[in-house]
């Protein structure tokens, strides 16, 4: 109950901070792009709109996840709004979990609206529903899973560092995570303890490269159901572990 109360409050704060304006910006961008692409490209309108749409969904989503995510705890500490919450019968883990659930809900609505915007733009350039649209929706789902992981990372960093540093760390991990495949391959090259260290570090990075399906989807390729299951389980497990680390870090945090 306490977790849901905090989650609702977090969601309301995000809405009143106009976080959900980003889908509106996205809608304008996609409408403009669809009209423009329809006029300048022949035969590849669909490919361009899907690529642009998925890239914009990822960009806006990550910005929102990091900006709001770092504010979840760090700003509450900085502004001391946390004092009157934690002086009530609220456990620290409930606070962290509530904040995460609230932001995850915000991101889900945000991402969902952007996904609908993308579908609307696709309808404009290629009228009629296509079976390949399902894979576009799966790609949006993958983006949402990535946003959950980014949000959990931002939350973890915000429990022990300033909002600025938490933002930098989160964005750096998002970028590195997109090269996780390469990092894992490179880590295999080491010998002895450096090998174990490199492999360990590479596997600690979130593996966002496994979620990059935009190019295939734009060309109408399907997504294997095994990959959908694998990515879903990986994202939930990774997010859960990062949240546990955030809760542990916050349990030890002194509020000065």
């Amino acid at each position: 109950m306490t977790v849901l109360t905090i989650a609702r409050s977090t969601f309301r704060e995000a809405v009143r901070d106009r976080v959900l304006y980003s889908p509106a910006v996205f809608a304008v961008l996609m409408t403009g792009a669809a009209v423009l692409v329809g006029q300048v490209s022949i035969g590849i309108e669909r490919l361009v709109v899907i690529n642009l749409g998925l890239a914009a969904t990822t960009f806006f989503g990550v910005i929102v996840a990091i900006l709001v995510g770092i504010g979840l705890v760090a700003k509450e500490i900085q502004k001391r709004t946390l004092y009157t919450v934690l002086s009530r019968p609220v456990a620290r883990w409930q606070f962290v979990a509530g904040k995460f659930v609230g932001l995850a809900g915000t991101l889900a609505i945000n991402g969902g609206l952007m996904g609908l915007g993308l579908l609307a733009a696709l309808r404009y350039v290629s009228p009629g529903f296509s079976g390949a649209d399902v894979w576009v929706l799966v790609a949006v789902y993958f983006i949402l899973l990535q946003l959950l992981m980014v949000c959990a990372l931002a939350l973890l960093f915000s429990t022990f560092s300033s909002p600025l540093l938490a933002g930098v760390f989160s964005f750096a991990l998002f970028v590195l995570g997109n090269f996780a495949g390469e990092l894992r391959e490179a880590a295999q090259g080491g010998v002895g303890w450096t090998h174990h260290l490199a492999v360990g570090a590479a596997y600690l990075m979130p593996n966002f490269s496994a979620f990059s399906v935009a190019a295939g989807v734009a060309h109408g390729e399907s997504i294997a159901s095994l990959l959908i299951w694998h990515n879903s389980i990986y994202a939930v497990t990774y997010t859960g572990l990062v949240l546990c680390a955030a809760i542990l870090a916050f349990e030890w945090r002194e509020l000065q």
Binding site: R12, R80, T84, V85, S87, R88, V90, E254, L255
Partner: protein
């Protein structure tokens, strides 16, 4: 049984790049606060008052020692439902209205949905904010935020209240209203532990006070004991300043036709005799009592820095 029991509570911070420098925010001290008391925690800025309150609220962790509130260890969620807390210079979610904020805190405090709205109206009225219930907190003045802070502290009808500088940022009228509110809370049987450096408030409100300076507890006691007999009396008479009186007077002040003189208690009879012989009408004779400010200054040895004291 004490309501608040502090046993050797100590707080040390490590500072510096490698966390090797230790800074004592609070030296080990013990203290007891009893049911129904208004307890003043006095000290200059940086004395450790807020640190103590944060330790008691479970927001920071003691380096050593322990504390119990209502017989339960600090940090126990069960005890926190019985506590009200107003932080120093409170800041709240400014996207919410006063009513929404109190609704949020009411839910977190585990108050039942039935009667919640009525209770929120009651406390808003009690702190004089019933007219601003639907106003977003970002539009509130500092004094109004302090009032919202008090409203959230008393919302769930707690048995013990911790108020960190409750009069801070308030105008004289606002301070008076908060003083009245604290008196009402005492009349309701609440225990109020409040920190302040405004000595007039402490003297007017507190049953007992503790003086903290540089992280050390310098003294604890009932206000009436601390501001005891100073061994001097004040005489006020009508007429002129008498030459024979001058050797006895420690202080003199002439205002119109009234002369106010302070003499040692031992010289009281001699002074009265001089007035009788000169047929000067005596207006009043009052024992001089040590003020809380004098006691505070003695404990904190701040005579050289009077700007720290706002009595």
């Amino acid at each position: 049984m004490p309501i608040i029991e502090i046993l050797g509570l100590e707080k040390t911070y490590t500072t510096g790049l490698f966390r090797r420098q230790r800074k004592h925010a609070l030296h080990a001290f013990s203290l007891e606060v009893y049911a129904g008391e208004v307890f003043g925690f006095l000290g200059p800025n940086g004395a450790g008052k807020s640190t103590t309150i944060k330790l008691l609220m479970g927001l920071a962790f003691p380096s050593s020692g322990s504390a119990r509130i209502l017989g339960m260890r600090i940090g126990d969620p069960q005890v926190r439902s019985q506590l009200g807390f107003l932080p120093e210079q409170p800041y709240f979610y400014d996207h919410l209205t006063a009513r929404e904020l109190l609704e949020y805190y009411a839910q977190l405090s585990g108050m039942e949905a039935k009667g919640r709205a009525r209770r929120i109206c009651e406390v808003l009225q009690r702190v004089g904010l019933d007219g601003a219930a639907e106003t977003a907190l970002r539009k509130f003045s500092k004094g109004m935020l302090q009032r919202v802070g008090l409203a959230q502290a008393i919302l769930h009808n707690p048995r013990v209240l911790f108020l960190d500088e409750p009069m801070s940022g308030l105008d004289p009228l606002g301070r008076r209203e908060i003083r009245l509110l604290i008196e009402e809370l005492k009349a309701e049987g609440k225990t109020v532990f409040f920190s302040t450096h405004i000595l007039a408030d402490a003297e007017a409100l507190c049953d007992r006070v503790a003086v903290l300076h540089a992280g050390r507890l310098r003294g604890v006691g009932a206000v009436c004991d601390l501001i005891g007999d100073a061994g001097r009396v004040e005489l006020v008479w009508r007429g002129r300043n008498l030459v024979a009186m001058r050797p006895l007077l420690q202080e003199t002040h002439i205002s119109g036709e009234l002369v106010r003189g302070v003499v040692l208690q031992a010289a009281q009879e001699q002074a009265l005799e001089i007035l009788r012989c000169a047929s000067v009408p005596l207006v009043s004779l009052t024992p001089v009592r040590t003020s809380l400010e004098e006691y505070y200054l003695r404990q904190t040895k701040l005579e050289a820095q009077p700007q720290e004291v706002r009595a």
